[in-house]
Each structure stands twice: as C-alpha cells, then as structure tokens.
Symmetry: C2
Subunit: 227 residues, 2 copies
C-alpha cells in the first residue's frame, strides 16, 4: 500500500487519520502518540507534529499541552453548534448546486448513493457513514464554492465525531431516502426543493442524536490506521 513511490507528507498523514476518524476506526478520545504515528507512517516526529497541528485546527484532534494529541470529543454544545452551522451553510449551497448540477454531477452523486447502499448491505457501517459525508461534500463541490465547501468539509468531519459520541437511532437507514430525494431535486434543478430537503435532512440528523449522554467513549489503538 505504501511501498512504492508514495510520498508521505504531513498532508497525507492528516488525511489518513481523518479518514480513519470518518470511518469510526479511530474513536473519540484515542491517544495519538507522536512516536507511534511516526513509526506507523515511517516518518519523524517533525512531520507527524505538522499533521496533528493541521488536524487540531480542523477540530478533529485536540492538542493538550505537554500531554499530546487525542481524537477530539465534541461537547454537547459543540455538537449543536456544528449542526447549526451546517444548517446555515448547506441548504443554500444545495440550492446553488441544483442550479449548476450537470448530468455528470448527478451520475457521481448516484454512484455515491449506490456505494453507500452497498456498504450498508455488507455491514460496513463506517464506510457507509464516510460515503454519506462525502455526498454532502460533493454537493458543495457542485455548487462551485470552494470556500464554503471547505467549511462544510470540516463540519462534516466533526459531525462524524458527534455521531460517534451521540448517535442513538441505530440501524435506521434514515440517510438513504433523504439523499435520494435530494438527488432528484438536484437532477430536476429544483433549487427551492433542494434547499428545503437539505434543511429538513439536517434537522433529522440532529434529532437523531441523544445529546444527554455519550454512547461511545472507549479509545482504540491507532494501530487501526494502516491497511
């Protein structure tokens, strides 16, 4: 996987760790030791530190002074704030995307949904969650707003942590239908409908959380990284 000419940089390490968090292979609270990460990727601590700082800036990792890096554990208020920010950004972005979506874009989104269904069928919930997030990010990309897309990307990542900590309705595939409806609105260039659907989809997500007690908590080894 990393044998040949794969140049490992701070950016790729950060992306790999973010991906692992996205797929819930790295639980919130997990310690990310510099030596350990450096050993896994075969680089010195210098590069690892840059990667961790980058992740900390995205709020995926919390840096505690003299104590090291941990996968972030968003508080209840932070969880609410993340979804409120998404509610501000994503509906209007979906409207823009509906205006601009090409047949190719629709095809890409459809493939995302298909892959997500396949992942759910074969029981890989982590991958399904990742693909579900990518669907949202793809819409932002279609809207052709790089700046907003970057914010949404960060919020989607943080939502992954929120879901790991506070998700309640296990097994309910509430995503599939919402995403499918959104896809149709986009295909029909119905911006108003896309905006509405995104809005209610985000509300659904937030209400599917149990913000009283965190479900997950135990931390896993970062050995679940490389594969």
């Amino acid at each position: 996987m990393d044998g040949a000419g794969s140049d490992i940089t701070a950016e790729t390490i950060a992306a790999d760790i973010a991906f692992a968090v996205h797929e819930h292979r790295l639980a919130p609270g997990s310690k990310l030791s510099e030596d350990e990460v450096g050993h896994v990727f075969g680089v010195s601590r210098t590069v690892v530190r840059a990667a961790l700082q980058r992740l900390a800036h995205d709020r995926l990792v919390e840096l505690k002074r003299n104590r090291g890096a941990f996968v972030a554990q968003p508080s209840v208020t932070e969880a609410r704030e993340v979804f409120e920010a998404r509610a501000l950004l994503e509906p209007r972005t979906a409207r823009s995307a509906a205006r601009r979506a090409t047949p190719d874009d629709i095809g890409i989104l459809q493939r995302h949904i298909d892959e997500e269904h396949a992942a759910v069928r074969e029981g890989s919930a982590g991958r399904a969650l990742y693909l579900s997030g990518r669907f949202h990010l793809e819409i932002a990309r279609i809207a052709d707003q790089a700046t907003i897309a970057e914010f949404i990307g960060q919020l989607v990542s943080r939502s992954s942590l929120v879901i790991a900590l506070y998700w309640e309705r296990r097994g309910a595939l509430c995503e599939s239908h919402a995403h499918h409806a959104l896809l149709r609105a986009l295909a029909e260039h119905d911006g108003a409908r896309a905006e509405e659907l995104m809005q209610s989809h985000l509300v659904d997500l937030l209400t599917s959380l149990d913000l009283r007690n965190r479900t997950s908590a135990p931390t896993s080894l970062s050995q679940a990284l490389k594969l």
Copy 2:
C-alpha cells in the same frame, strides 16, 4: 513589549502576524522568511514553522513548497467566495445576536464604533479597518455560536487581504453608518432588521471592490512587525 514574562508561542506569533495583516502593515505577497520571523520573535524556526502553518490553514499565508511563506494574495474568485460565505453566515448570525444582546454587549459594540471613528479621525486607516472587522466578530460572539464565530473570524481576516488588493472607494467612510444602524437594530432586539442590515452591508462592501485589477501589490518588509 516582549521583555518580561511574555511567553512567545506559535499561537502568539500567528496572532501577531495576523494582526499586522489586519492593519495592512503587511501587504499581500510579502515574504515571511523563517529565519527573519524567528529572529524578530527570538525563537527557533521550529516554532515559526508551526505559526506559518497555522496561518496557511487560515488562508492568510500561502506556503509554496521549497520557496517559503508569503502573505496570501486572494484571487478575484476567492474574493467573491469570501463575501458569499459571509453573506451566508453573518446575516442570520446578526439576527441571533439581536435576540441575545445585553446592554453590556451594546456598550462594547458602541465602544468599538467610537474607537473606529477615532482611528479614522487620526488618519490610522489600518487600525480603523481592524476595528471594523472586530465589530463583525463581536456580533458573532454575542450570538454565542463559537463554531460560526470562528468561521466568520477567518473570513473577516481574509476580507482584510481582499480589501488590501481590491478596495476602490478610498476615503468613503461607508462603514460608520452601516455599523451604527446595525447597532441600533441589535439594541432594539430587532432581529429581522439586523439581518437585513447585515445583508445589505455585506453587499455594499462587495460592490465597493474593484475586482478587475488589484490596487496594492508591492510587498513590505516584515520588520514592520514588532512594536
């Protein structure tokens, strides 16, 4: 200034540089040499690099591989995107702020406006611009949405760069009236009006730019840092 117990960290260096950019003491395109910055702050390149990476993540600095760090020069499309993102976030945030604003909050905002006027009077346009940005950030803080406030903070910073590059209407104190009207709407808890005012204020800002040719460009020494 930095003599006594001031512990200089990557964070404080990043803040100082960001402040200098905010006040237009550091022009877009300025080279930020690691050795130079390190010498100014009395730290090694290690901590300078961390600060520059942090600024790069905020898009205030552009890191060119093997070439070093430069104060960012937002493109025309990036300039538009920054203001479109602000148009998405700030009006609704102003509405929330109007709901929550306490007399103390209003006092703080009034003081901001007063200081801004004073800065304009004594001809320190840089400081006035900085305070004008802080006004927007303060509203986000009043809305009690840390996540959104962080985004707005980044966008305000980037707006500073955009203004440095593309500002046209020199001398027009278009800010003062808009901010004063906003303050009144907030004081009266008139959320709808605050939202409208913020919306049109942002449109005004965007239309005050000449997005055809960049006005500023020459780069200044980073010796304009410490004071």
